[in-house]
Amino acid sequence: MTPDELSLQLAELRPRLVRFARLQLRDDGAAEDAVQEALLAAVENARSFDGASAAATWVFAILKNKLIDEFRRRGRNPVIAADDEVALETLLEEQFDARGHWREPPPAWSDPGASLEQKRFWEVFEICISSLPERPARVFGMRELLGMETEEICKELGISASNCWVLLHRARLGLRDCLSRRWFGED
């Protein structure tokens, strides 16, 4: 692949890279910056690729490292829960009575697997992730969307394992709540 072909190929990938970064960084400007840096790094360190898919895989790997850098940078800042995170915690606590039993047991979702085939489901899925508070969303994104191990996440963010589990738990129950309301139509 010539440098020109590589540049063209990378330019075509750009929208996908931006979409990938945007859901995780929750900030369009930061997502554009991360993608820009990844593309620059890809061009500067251009080497020979067997084909288009090898170049795509490579630039995505660079972008993922950029995202982790950005998470690491942000991770040092908020040690305490923001207001929306406290609100989520309260919402989740209120699902249980004083003895820790469901006030109202969550109902089963009917045929969730079929949702994966529907375009509209993915819009709702992304909206629900975007509406999580910052810290749980970030840890959830690293765990489930980047596929990182919990130990790696703790190390990158400088938080304890138990803190990490608490944040993941809140993110998951928050997402469950959001999907129940906005997709599986409990209300």
């Binding site: 979409r19 898919s53 895989t57 995505f60 979702w109 998951r172």
Partner: protein, 69 residues
């Protein structure tokens, strides 16, 4: 006996670390008798599957194009 609150914490943690034998037994017993927690278990399992599908679709490093590392 686990409360539902503790059981949901274990369901989530079971996705991130290996639960101890006692935890697994306690959770299994609880799930047998608790419909709400069984539903929660399924919900979280679905979230993981959906996330994996999202990743597969958006992240080209995780697609199988015959040239994965």
């Amino acid at each position: 006996m686990l409360s539902c609150k503790e059981a949901t914490e274990l369901i989530s943690q079971g996705m991130d670390r290996r639960l101890s034998l006692a935890e697994r037994m306690g959770l299994r017993l609880h799930l047998l008798i608790c419909r709400g927690c069984r539903a929660t278990d399924k919900h979280l399992d679905f979230l993981r599957r959906a996330s994996a599908a999202w990743r597969q679709h958006h992240d080209l490093t995780s697609t199988q194009q015959g040239d994965s590392k």
